[in-house]
């Protein structure tokens, strides 16, 4: 800008004026002071503003109608009215866990308490989360998966715990949570889940990325989808992970299909830079692909590479050799996958 001004001053033949300079500095000082004040005021924003705009002080009673929002199997009846929550109000139902769902694309939640007919003390609560897409539903299902759950044969992504049933079906994630371990409640939950699926036969969808992990040593139940900020890196989203046994414990293979090979390369570079910023020491390897980064960090090893549209690698391996061996196997599987959009 000073060049422009100098040039113009030269062109117009007018010398610089000290007065003009002082006025200019004053104007800039005023602008800087205004910017500083805005930042300072914003940093001390009073949250009470939002509260008084929002209204209610105490949680409100749900609506009086107890009509079920699901088709209920025989033997179950509503114990309370159905409730509905959206992105604004989800925390009113599940408090601090809301972020898990919101970050995965949550759309709405319907829930209702149901009881065995004539036995109000034996009740369950049905939560039906509409997550918008099947991968989003799989993300919340897989991230909360309990290790000792019993798989259910009637659905690919379903398991039963001692007192609960969890199911991902299409874009829906269901939690059916009972007040006790009573077998009649558990049977009713299973009937409810089957009925839910039967009413939405076309909703089921495969999660293709699950098939891209090497089979040997894979715990299929342990495949997770991290919807956002994977491994602590802001913006690293839609990352599938799978645990594998290693000599020194466990390691995790990961992959993420990006929009283009270029984006995969950019994401790989961003993740390597992130690890370097936290003290990682980077070396290069020519396997599984040229330019693969191997990062030693906090007594573990990371492998990061891009292959077609995939960002992939190995996370927290106990040794460099095991990390690279798993990375090679992962790359072989990725080469078999369609690389189109």
């Amino acid at each position: 800008m000073s060049d422009l001004c100098s040039n113009n001053a030269h062109l117009s033949g007018r010398p610089r004026s000290r007065r003009q300079t002082l006025i200019g500095l004053f104007v800039f000082a005023v602008l800087a002071a205004a910017a500083f004040w805005i930042c300072w005021a914003q940093s001390r924003f009073n949250p009470a503003v939002l509260n008084y705009l929002a209204g209610a002080v105490v949680a409100t009673q749900p609506p009086a109608s107890a009509e079920p929002f699901l088709e209920l199997p025989e033997g179950l009846s509503p114990l309370s009215p159905p409730e509905r929550f959206d992105r604004e109000t989800l925390a009113d139902k599940i408090n601090g866990k809301a972020e898990l769902y919101l970050s995965a694309g949550f759309v709405r939640l319907h829930c209702q308490r149901l009881a065995l007919a004539g036995r109000p003390q034996d009740w369950l609560e049905a939560f039906v989360y509409d997550m918008g897409t099947a991968p989003n539903a799989y993300a919340v299902f897989s991230q909360q998966r309990r290790s000792d759950g019993t798989p259910l044969g009637f659905a690919e992504f379903a398991y039963r715990a001692e007192n609960a049933l969890f199911l991902a079906h299409g874009s829906f994630y269901l939690e059916l949570i009972a007040s006790s371990k009573d077998s009649r409640l558990l049977d009713a939950m299973e009937a409810l889940a089957r009925g839910f699926m039967a009413q939405r036969p076309a909703a089921g969808a495969a999660i293709a990325e699950r098939d891209l992990f090497p089979r040997e040593g894979l715990d299929e139940a342990g495949i997770r989808l991290i919807p956002a900020d994977a491994f602590g890196l802001a913006g690293l989203d839609r990352v599938f992970t799978a645990a594998y046994a290693a000599d020194g414990g466990e390691m995790t293979a990961f992959l993420s299909r990006r929009e283009s090979p270029r984006e995969a390369v950019d994401r790989a570079r961003a993740y390597v830079d992130f690890l370097k910023a936290y003290g990682g020491e980077v070396s290069l390897a020519d396997k599984p692909v040229g330019g693969t980064s191997v990062i030693a960090i906090l007594d573990t090893y990371e492998v990061v590479f891009a292959l077609g549209p995939f960002l992939a690698g190995v996370h927290e391996a106990p040794s460099r050799e095991e990390a690279l061996a798993l990375a090679v196997r992962l790359a072989e599987k990725l080469k078999e996958a369609p690389h189109g959009p």
Binding site: N8, A9, Q20, Y52, A59, Q61, A91, D148, A161, I177
Partner: protein, 327 residues
């Protein structure tokens, strides 16, 4: 963009000055109309500047770690180790027990205060001569369902306590001096100002947002309004709550701990039998020890250091020489 050959230095300065004047005018109007105290409630009620101090300096900084699976045995044992319930509750006291009844979930899930502890603590307070015991919380879900389905309501009433279901009229605005977040915020003040002693009774849980929910996080249930906006800065709000509330005693129930998928859990697989009940007069120290039952350290939970920095207590629980007992 090509430079404008008609714009000379003087004209540039003139335009910049006019733009600056416009900004200055806008900023000036904003400054003059800015209300630094924030919105006032509909009534003319002034914001309280703090809560009563329920702590007992003469009781000192004490802590007890009681091990056992039976809460009805570990609670009296731990209290005995701290000098007996009479150390904290005197004849004629009006005791408020702040439970965690956040969710309408069954006791089986350990997402809320266990009803056995509510009834036993009530019984002990009344036995020590308390004139009245009230049990209160402002749950996330609708209050009547929460107190009923958690079993807390029935446990409290059967032991002789009165359950305070939150009503809008019980809340009053409170501003914590020098606080960043608690400014003119509705707080469940009525039951607090009527009490002479305050006991926090919280379950030990994993928490997706804050890392853990223990005795300091339990005070979150004193807030009204759209408090979920505090989730954006949950570490600070917990620390400010710890500074706001000076309890007589806190009880952290790690008999069965929700170690994953908190704060709601949902499956028994989320729970672990850690068989520990922690009592103390220093809520920061109690939480610091509680972190270890989640497989964490105090350093893993920023709200602990923040609360300590605000003077709510000490994260060095070992300095309290906790008494360890087994039932």
């Amino acid at each position: 963009m090509a430079p404008d050959p008609l714009l000379n230095r003087r004209e540039f300065m003139g335009r910049a000055a006019r733009a600056g004047a416009a900004l200055l005018a806008a900023g000036g109007i904003a400054f003059l109309t800015h209300d630094p105290s924030g919105p006032q409630p509909a009534s003319e009620e002034l914001a309280a500047s703090g809560l009563p101090d329920f702590s007992l300096p003469e009781a000192g900084r004490k802590m007890c770690i009681a091990r056992g699976a039976d809460r009805l045995r570990t609670l009296p044992l731990a209290l005995q180790a701290l000098g007996g319930i009479e150390t904290f509750i005197r004849k004629g006291d009006r005791v408020l027990i702040k439970v965690n009844a956040a969710f309408a979930s069954p006791p089986l899930l350990s997402a809320t205060t266990h009803p056995e502890l509510v009834s036993e603590l009530t019984r002990l307070c009344l036995k020590a001569g308390a004139a009245a015991v009230h049990v209160a919380d402002n749950p996330i879900n609708d209050p009547a369902s929460c107190f009923a389905l958690t079993g807390i309501g029935q446990a409290a009433r059967s032991a002789g306590a009165e359950v305070v279901l939150p009503e809008e009229r019980f809340f009053h605005p409170l501003t914590l001096p020098d606080a960043h977040l608690i400014k003119n915020w509705p707080v469940l003040l009525d039951p607090l100002v009527r009490a002479t002693k305050l006991i926090g009774l919280a379950p030990l849980k994993d928490h997706h947002r804050s890392g853990a929910s223990m005795v300091m996080k339990n005070w979150y249930g004193l807030l009204g309004g759209r408090r979920n906006i505090f989730h954006q800065d949950i570490q600070t709000i917990i620390a400010e709550l710890a500074r706001m509330v000076k309890p007589t005693l806190v009880v952290l129930d790690g008999t069965t701990t929700m170690v994953s998928n908190g704060p709601t859990g949902g499956s028994l697989a989320d729970l672990k039998d850690t068989r520990t009940l922690i009592l103390g007069t220093d809520q920061v120290a109690v939480d610091a020890y509680g972190a270890t039952l989640l497989g964490k350290t105090a350093a893993d939970l920023p709200f602990i250091a923040k609360a300590e920095a605000l003077g709510a207590g000490s994260a060095d629980y070992r300095a309290l020489s906790p008494i360890e007992v087994s039932a």
